[in-house]
Symmetry: C2
Subunit: 448 residues, 2 copies
């Protein structure tokens, strides 16, 4: 898909091929290579600043939990969250963003209330009281715990609470949705953090099953849009016996990791029980403008975007090998992240020539790219000598879409060299064309 | 500033004035009116979906803490965080984004470690153990507390921890910065949440004071860029006796709220003590590529963006009065938020005419705006009858930049009516021009 898109744009540009294209072959993977594959992916993520180093941190990442991200991982997740946001709020459906608190002093419902934020000093003070009996001490600690705010485990409760004020916003008309992204805390995982996206959709009871299907199609399409091999993303209906209480149907969106399947997103048709419970059964507050006295049904769409980032990294890593001669076997690792997701769109480097002048050109281009919101890697600031081959290998592992080389030629004629990550073709282009070329390339990939 | 900008663009457009402009006067405020002013602001924020209703929630908001935001407040804070992000990462300085965890199992330093996430079940289990003596019980609870993750109170510690892997990223060259936005938890406020922005800047010891001045200028300029009355934002040097330990200098950026001054942002020149402490005094890991064996100094730039959102709301609310006759006194409230910050740029409404056709035109325009990332309010979906005057009053309070009316005229000639929030002028424009007009208007305001 991307290759076709590159070709379309290339054919419209004033490009000339300056270097022959090598022929790379994609590696085949057997079951025994899986462990290697995972190790390679995780090592690459650390080496190329997606994930901060440290065994415990990398483990969090692999388990699909929030971890300490490096600059590239941070930007990837940011792009992912932005794309999710635009897809739900620009879908044509009435969706409003909200922001609720991650801790709450309200009486918790459902799975909430397992994790509490306790002020150490207060608890220690209780424990230090000499005159208290053991029973009284236990009671005091208990009370302190009950009064402490509980951490949210999902974004559903906040959205259900915001249903009533939001109903005013839409003149009591259904359907509409409330969207939120934010950190949630999982007690089962030793209080691990997860970056969730949540769309809570309110609709009439008779349409809830259709809406579940609608959002499943939308969401699966969204995941596949950014994938290199879309078939690794799939959906399946939750079996009757696995249904959460109150839910009448459920669908899971699954990613096929090298080590097996993991759930990226879950959609539930939840009925009206939770909405009624949170609003203490006050049916009059919950009724919409529809003549009939029905309570809206809730469809929840919840994804884990930390695991989502991991899935796209895993999906986009290609290991290619090339036989240069009988003796030499080259391995090339390329992170073929989708152009809108990839953290760095272009790297700026200098070739041979008058360093001061070349750097000035780079500075100018850098500013131009930044103003056009094209993220750029200032490779020209690096002072360690590296061969072109090493540089390309590094940028391929970072997923950098294009590498620009500013050289003597640029000073003389304004021509620079552009190498594409996906085709490995190096072409020359005039400096005045490069920004528009990149802009068009990324937009084209976005609109496919 | 904005009015000038509007005029510049208006003069370049095919505009014709169709209605006379009313003359509004800005209300003067005396000390006794301050309470009214604050009440009006808070009420407006709730009525117009910036802040979710509820006394406790509004109080959080007024205290400059994170609260439950409605769709407009959520979008305002989102725009604010985006602008902050672009201003630090596109400043030309080497700044990298990171993402660290909001809870940590590491031994806490400084003010951290006051708030712990405790698993309720585990603690209750300890308390229920009958055979334990009181002393043993207290000890067990103590141990559980020590092993529980602590919530972060700021983003500084995370950035200091990421210094070593980031040093690789820049080939051990100074200066560079690490940027992060996220929730922090304040023990002093009863475990309240705050949305912080943090730039941690690493530089050579001899330049740290200059960098503090540099970032103070940059940040103050940033706050004032979006202000209606920039003089309400100011900076002052922290007095010697108020300096935090380890800091050699500090600067605060202050906003002048109706009830007094509050701190929006704090900049500290912190020396190298904390960096050394976190990396256990391992000087060799911390040294940069500079010949001399010095440890970088740290300048921290930390803002509270919940209070920032509150400051811009307060700053942009204008109360204007107009005497229509001796008897009638009209009050008009306008939220003159900066075009790039304002949550909704344009509202789409229908006037008299064939409803089905007019709605179709609105749907088309809505999609066009959404694709151009111009946030739009689908007023045409509202079915309650409202007068034009009521509608304009509502949109002014929401801060909506432009209101578009699609009417019979649009069906016949493609002309629509556009009303400006800031000038209250209504003009006619061709439907094919409107998207570009809005796009240019917002870009112009961004680039001033």
């Amino acid at each position: 898909m991307f290759t076709r898109c590159v070709r379309n744009i290339l054919s419209r540009s004033a490009f000339t091929v300056t270097l022959k294209r090598h022929s790379w072959r994609r590696c085949s993977t057997s079951q025994t290579e899986t462990v290697d594959q995972v190790t390679t992916l995780l090592q690459l993520c650390v080496d190329r600043f997606f994930v901060s180093p440290g065994h415990a941190n990398v483990e969090l990442f692999q388990r699909g939990l929030c971890c300490s991200y490096g600059p590239l991982g941070m930007e990837l997740r940011r792009n992912l969250l932005d794309q999710w946001w635009h897809s739900v709020t620009r879908s044509g459906a009435q969706v409003f963003g909200i922001n609720t608190l991650s801790s709450s002093r309200e009486a918790p419902t459902g799975g909430q209330g397992q994790l509490r934020i306790v002020e150490c000093e207060q608890l220690k003070q209780r424990l230090g009281q000499k005159q208290l009996s053991k029973g009284r001490l236990a009671e005091e600690v208990h009370m302190l715990l009950q009064r402490s705010p509980s951490m949210r485990t999902n974004l559903l409760q906040g959205a259900l609470e915001q249903f009533v004020p939001s109903l005013e916003l839409v003149n009591r008309k259904l359907p509409f949705g409330l969207a939120e992204t934010g950190l949630c805390f999982q007690p089962a995982e030793g209080s691990a953090e997860v970056t969730q996206t949540s769309l809570v959709w309110f609709c009439s009871p008779r349409t809830s099953s259709q809406w579940l299907d609608h959002w499943t199609r939308q969401r699966l399409k969204w995941w596949r849009k950014f994938a290199l091999s879309p078939s690794d993303f799939s959906s399946n209906e939750v079996q009757q016996e696995e249904l959460e209480q109150a839910a009448s149907r459920g669908v899971r969106i699954i990613y096929n990791f090298p080590w097996g399947q993991e759930v990226l997103e879950t959609l539930w048709s939840r009925g009206d029980a939770e909405l009624l419970h949170i609003h203490k059964g006050d049916r009059s507050k919950l009724q919409h403008q529809d003549g009939r006295r029905s309570i809206p049904h809730v469809v929840s769409v919840t994804a884990n975007m930390d695991r989502g980032a991991m899935a796209f990294l895993s999906n986009s890593l290609q290991q290619l090998k090339r036989e240069e001669s009988k003796k030499k076997l080259h391995q090339r690792k390329v992170l073929k992240l989708h152009p809108v997701l990839v953290p760095i769109k272009v790297a700026l480097n200098i070739g041979r020539g008058a360093t001061v002048e070349l750097r000035q050109i780079c500075e100018g281009l850098l500013q131009e790219f930044l103003e056009a919101k094209i993220s750029v890697w200032p490779g020209y600031l690096e002072t360690l000598p590296t061969s072109m081959e090493q540089l390309n290998a590094k940028y391929d592992e970072m997923g950098v879409l294009f590498t620009i080389i500013i050289g003597e030629n640029t000073l003389e004629s304004g021509l620079l060299q552009v190498r594409s990550r996906d085709t490995t073709i190096k072409e020359t282009m005039h400096i005045s064309e490069i920004k528009n070329f990149l802009f068009r390339y990324i937009s084209a990939a976005d609109n496919i």
